[in-house]
Amino acid sequence: MLSDFIPFFIQLGIAVGLSFTLLKAAALIGPKRDNVIKMTSYESGMDPIGSARERYSVKFYLVAMIFIVFDVEIVFLYPWAVSFDEFIAAGAGPGVMAVVLFFVIILAIGLVYDIKKGGLEFD
């Protein structure tokens, strides 16, 4: 119900207020003395070479992609987990279990494939 979420949003509002106050208080109280050295990004004392916004390894993309697939899988499993005892009570336990098991095995094949192909190999 929507009303159950109202306390959650109250807490959210207080948390936002707290973090905003912390930021603003520090900005008001703290000194402001800029200079060029201070404003350059840190690179172990050297002048920064090139931009930091370079291209990065495709591995990270691969991890995120596989993560989405399994996240969606787990999301599909939540309704089953909540109502599994009702299925059992209705005598549909083994049937539903078979459906879920098949679903999980299909995705496990994907995981095994990724591991075998070295898609999750970081070195």
């Binding site: 990270f60 309704p79 109502s83 098949f102």
Partner: protein, 169 residues
């Protein structure tokens, strides 16, 4: 009453965020606007008492898919696009009005053909939107489509690895 006020507030914020995503010239800012939009949509689900769907919306879209978007933006090092030369307000207003007219026409046509779905009470919405009622149809009546989704996700996993690893391993 509160729910309908909330609906209009959230809907307008969602539209504003979607526009912000389109207009923003910096890809990361666009992504942030889209995240705000997804949160508003989750809020819209909440107003019709579909709390399970609302949380899943945040979990999957904001928590997983947008992370991938951000990764891709960083990966490709998309630079900031050049600023829009000038916004042609006349075209934008014309577009909005045209869309409004189209929506009205579609509503009238659907109404005369009796295609407008009956409004659902919040009680019914809460019952059908819960995880339990979802499971009752998902794992019995729609078990086959579920497995097809599984195969689709498998294809996505394999596709990602095949595309990302061009070299034969």
């Amino acid at each position: 009453m509160t729910a309908s006020i909330l609906f209009f507030v959230l809907a307008s914020v969602a539209i504003a965020a979607a526009l912000g995503m389109l207009i923003s010239r910096n890809p990361v800012n666009s992504a942030l606007w889209l995240i705000l939009n997804l949160f508003c949509v989750a809020g819209l689900y909440l107003t019709v008492n579909a709390e399970f769907i609302a949380v899943i919306q945040v979990l999957v879209y904001a928590g997983a898919i947008m992370v991938l978007f951000l990764f891709v933006i960083m990966l490709l090092n998309l630079s900031v696009l050049p600023d829009l030369k000038r916004i042609e307000w006349r075209r934008i207003i014309a577009f909005i009005m045209g869309m409004g007219l189209l929506a009205m026409l579609m509503f009238i046509v659907a109404n005369t053909l009796d295609m407008v779905p009956d409004p659902v009470t919040l009680q019914v919405a809460a019952e059908t939107g819960s995880a339990t009622s979802l499971a009752k149809v998902l794992f019995t009546q729609y078990a086959m489509p579920l497995e097809v989704i599984g195969i689709l996700l498998l294809a996505a996993t394999i596709g990602a690895v095949v595309i990302a690893k061009k070299k034969p391993v």
